[in-house]
Structure formats: structure tokens, C-alpha cells
């Protein structure tokens, strides 16, 4: 177990380092000069050169990368070029909002997705099932920003049930979380449905029936725990989707998370911030997957950590 954990952590670290390299190369290729963004309009060409020198932007690529990597290993993500604040601090102030949104969205999508999936599977090929599956198709197909704007329009502007964007209370988190979780609810309901159907067809369910167990017990004790297994791995992968969704949803709802930070940073080639945000989201994705892999054996005794 611990050897496994160590190896997985090591692999994850390698992946993250790989990501720093890819991002760094990409940003190196972006045809925009951060020094000019910093220098401002009144700057002379010499000043810009000077700033480039100071930031080491004139150094060869690998030297720059090496410098970044060594600093990163010491926990230093650098300073924002434009805000002059520690990237770690900028992220730290925004991460809680994003995490809150993410957790709320995961709860939303699981609550909806799993319930819908189970109900649809148990009412397979009945009108209820068809209705729910059409709903899930729609939710998979709907662009997040349209859903976001629609929810905002209907529930905040027209009905006034929720605040129109912003951050702070529970009411604030509802619409963004639903928007973000909407897509996931569709996926999960479909996966859960086929998973439940799969499990329902398995021999041990027949055994449970042959034992004379009640329907509720069969579903709760035998079907659901088995049906949920394939879903666990999905939750890990999901984090990646969230990271993408968050940029959009945060911009629609004015949610002060790292999606907005990333968007602004990309607009203005604030390289340390872009790197930082990429690292944080990649870490979240990697950790999510790792966590899913670590949780799986706890739920499923058959899986050995290898």
C-alpha cells in the first residue's frame, strides 16, 4: 500500500513536471511580450529591455525553465508580473471560492445524476425512463454558458429567487453550482443507469432474489454498492472537466475563483499566474484521479493496489 502510494505520488509528480514543461513551452511561444505589459505605454524601449533583463526573459529557454522549476520545488510560484503579488497568494485567495463551487457542483451533479440514473434503471423502458434520459441528453448537449445565462435570466432576473451573480452566501452558490453540475448530472445519470442495469443482470442479484430478500434491500445493499463502483473512477476524471467549466461559469456569474484569474492572466500574458493556475488545476486533476484510485480499493475489496 505505502509502496503503491509512493509510486503513484512519484508518477503524479512526473506528470505535473511534464505539464510545467508543456505549459512553459506554450507560453514561450505566445507572441506577446510580458515586459511591454509591465512597462506600460510611457516606457522607452530601453526600459522594456531592462525589464526583460530583470525578469530573465532574455535568457535561453531552458535556463528560464530551470529557474522556474527550481523555484517551484521550493514552493515559490513566482510573482504576478502585473499585480506584483505572490502567485501563491493570488491563487490562495481565489482557490477557496473555486473549491467551494466545485464541491457544490459535485454534490449537485451526484445528487441529481445518481438519483436519476437509479430511477431510470429501475423503470427501464417505461415513460419515466425515456423522459429522464431525454433530460440527460439535453443536459449533456447544452453549452454551459447558455445554461448559466438562462438560469441567471430566469431565476435571478425574472423570478428574483437568487442573487444575480456574486459570492458570499449559500444563495449565491446555487445557480453556478447547478450550471456547473448540469452537464455532470447528465453524464452520471446515464452512467449510473447503465451501471445499475448491468448489476441488475448479474448473478449475485439473482442470488439475492433467491434468498427471498426484499426489493429495497436488494437495491440498497446489493445493487447500489456495486453499481457505484465504476462511477468512483469517473469522479476523479471529472475534476478535469470542472476546471474547464469553471472558467466559463465563473465568468458568467462573476464568481471570484481561479477561472477568472486564469482568464485575465491569459489576456495579459501574466506568465507566472498562468503557470500557477495551470499547475493548480493539473494538480487537482491528478490528485482527483489518485484519490479515486485510492478510494476504489476501500469500496471494492477485489481491487488491489498494484
Amino acid at each position: 500500500m505505502s509502496a503503491y502510494l509512493v509510486r503513484r505520488l512519484f508518477e503524479s509528480a512526473l506528470i505535473l513536471i511534464g505539464i510545467t514543461l508543456v505549459t512553459f513551452v506554450l507560453l514561450y511561444l505566445v507572441p506577446a511580450d510580458p515586459a511591454r505589459q509591465i512597462a506600460g505605454r510611457s516606457a522607452t524601449v530601453e526600459t522594456v529591455q531592462n525589464i526583460r533583463d530583470q525578469l530573465g526573459l532574455n535568457d535561453p529557454f531552458f535556463l528560464q525553465y530551470w529557474r522556474y522549476l527550481t523555484a517551484l520545488f521550493q514552493g515559490d510560484m513566482g510573482r504576478s508580473y502585473l499585480q506584483r503579488a505572490e502567485v501563491s497568494e493570488l491563487i490562495a485567495t481565489r482557490l477557496p471560492a473555486s473549491l467551494l463551487l466545485m464541491v457544490a457542483a459535485i454534490v449537485t451533479e451526484l445528487a441529481f445524476g445518481l438519483t436519476i440514473g437509479i430511477v431510470a434503471a429501475l423503470r427501464r423502458n417505461k415513460p419515466v425512463d425515456h423522459g429522464l434520459m431525454i433530460f440527460s441528453f439535453v443536459s449533456i448537449s447544452a453549452p454551459q454558458f447558455v445554461i448559466g445565462i438562462l438560469l441567471l435570466y430566469v431565476f435571478a432576473v425574472k423570478l428574483g429567487w437568487f442573487p444575480i451573480g456574486g459570492y458570499g452566501t449559500f444563495a449565491h452558490v446555487v445557480l453556478p453550482a447547478v450550471t456547473l453540475g448540469f452537464l455532470g448530472a447528465g453524464w452520471y445519470s446515464r452512467m449510473m443507469r447503465s451501471s445499475v442495469i448491468d448489476v441488475l443482470g448479474q448473478d449475485f442479484v439473482r442470488t439475492a432474489q433467491a434468498k427471498g430478500l426484499g426489493k429495497a434491500r436488494i437495491i440498497l445493499r446489493h445493487v447500489l454498492p456495486n453499481a457505484i463502483l465504476p462511477i468512483i473512477a469517473m469522479i476523479g476524471i471529472d475534476i478535469g472537466l470542472f476546471m474547464s467549466g469553471i472558467v466559463v461559469v465563473e465568468s458568467v456569474f462573476g464568481w471570484p475563483g481561479i477561472g477568472q484569474l486564469a482568464w485575465q492572466a491569459i489576456q495579459r500574458v501574466d506568465i507566472p499566474v498562468i503557470m500557477g493556475v495551470t499547475m493548480v488545476s493539473a494538480t487537482a486533476i491528478v490528485l482527483g484521479n489518485l484519490l479515486a484510485d485510492l478510494v476504489a480499493p476501500l469500496v471494492d475489496p477485489r481491487i488491489k493496489m498494484k
Binding site: I15, I19, F137, S141, Q144, F145, I149, A262, I274
Partner: protein, 280 residues
Amino acid sequence: MLQDLLTRPRAAFGLFIIVLMVGAAVFAPWIMPHDPFEQSFDGLSLVGAPLPPGGDFLLGTDLLGRDLASRLILGTRTSLIIGVLANGIAILLGAGVGITAGYFGGWVGAILMRFTDLMMAFPALLLAIVLAAIFQPSLLIVALVIAMVNWVQMARVIYTETRSLAERDFITVQRALGAGHLRILLKHLLPHLLSSIVVFGTLGISTTVLLEATLSFLGVGVQPPMPSWGNIIFENQTYFSTAPWLVFIPGSAILLLALAFNLVGDALRDILDPTLKGRH
């Protein structure tokens, strides 16, 4: 297969929508009621507000006074071209990597799959935005960028499937018969992977259309004035409360297209996968 699709109401509906949209894209010049680029003087109210649906402009006008219906019809082209192009590239890349890694395994496979893992961990949208910033967006670049983001899942799916197929008896038999790699790959593996590729392909088109819309929504997609459903929304989104039709009509178009491909893809999965026969 077509017959199979048509007998399923949902898939038939999806197919119908797709045919409709392809038709709209192909015949756009003939069916557009107005010039989609013309910023018509009559297209704006006196104070410069867009016109709501109805009247001369069937679906209303956008903030520049252009006919929304015409722009939507022309936007079908963009969405479909991107969908097909990006998805095609993603499939080639993803299936190529997946099959190679899955069939040959060894260190080549290990390196390919580690790379795939790495790309998995990359926040996809960030990657797309950064790529879009490096290469000035054009239809082809946008398609490439989306393909870059989307091939990963394809590779994963195909890899897993190739791995399990490669273990199957009928492939072992081929090896025992002395068949070369190329023959095994093309004649035996590929036909079995084809259903996944087709299914993933159709589902991928919907993801692609959505991603293009998102990129356009963030302002890094297809270049104006070429309409794409995403950038129509992008240009007009802040007006959603005063001119909701500008957001929700193109939004519904995206939804409908993605829905159509999802429905067809899902039905194809059932039709092409014999183990799923009879339980949809």
C-alpha cells in the same frame, strides 16, 4: 444500419436534425433571407438597439443590425465544419496513439500512454485558450486546437479496447498463424474498433461543437464577422436580459445539434455493440 437508426425514435429524431442542419449548411446561400454580413441600417432601432424576432427579420437582428436568422444559417457551416474537421483529426490522432500503444505495448506504449495521461491532466480549456493565443485563430487553427484537446479521450478509449482485444483468442490465433502486425491491425483489430470509433466520433462531434462555442464565447474562436453559433452568443451575451433572443436562439441551435449527435451516437453504440443488443 440506417434502418436500425430509423427504427429508433430518438435516433431518427437526431438524424433528422443532422440532415436538416447539413442541408442548411450546404444550401445556406439560397435559404438565407438576408445577407448575413450586412449591418443593415434598418436592423437597429433608432437608439441603436437590436430588433426582436418577427417582422422583416424573422429571428430579429443582432447588435450590429445583422439578420440573426441568416447568421445562424451560415453559422451552421462553421459549427459543422469544425465539428467534422476537429473531430476527424482527433479521431486519427487518438485512434492512432491508442492502437499503437495498446497493440505494441512495451516502452513505446508506455511513453505514449504517459503522454496521454499528461494531456489528460492538462486543464483542457486552458490549453485551448493558450493554443488559440499562440496561433491566430482561423477555422483550421480552431479545429486543430480542439482536436489537440479532444484526441486524448479517444486515445484512452481505444487503448483500453485494443488492450483487451489483443488478449482475445482470435488475435492470438492470428499470431499463431504467423500474420504480420499490419494484417492483424488492419484486418482484425480495426474492424472491431470501428464501432467505438464511429460512436466516439459522433459523440465527439457534439463535444467539439460545444468546445468551439465555448472558445468563441470566450472570444478566442472563429474570427468575426464569420458567424459561428458560439461567437454570436459571445457578441451578444451581455444583452441577455434586454435582447434574450440573441443568446437563447443560437444557444438552442447548439443544444439541438449537440443533442442530435449525442442521440445518434448513443444509438450507434447500441447498434454496433452486439453485447448491448436488446437492452437500451
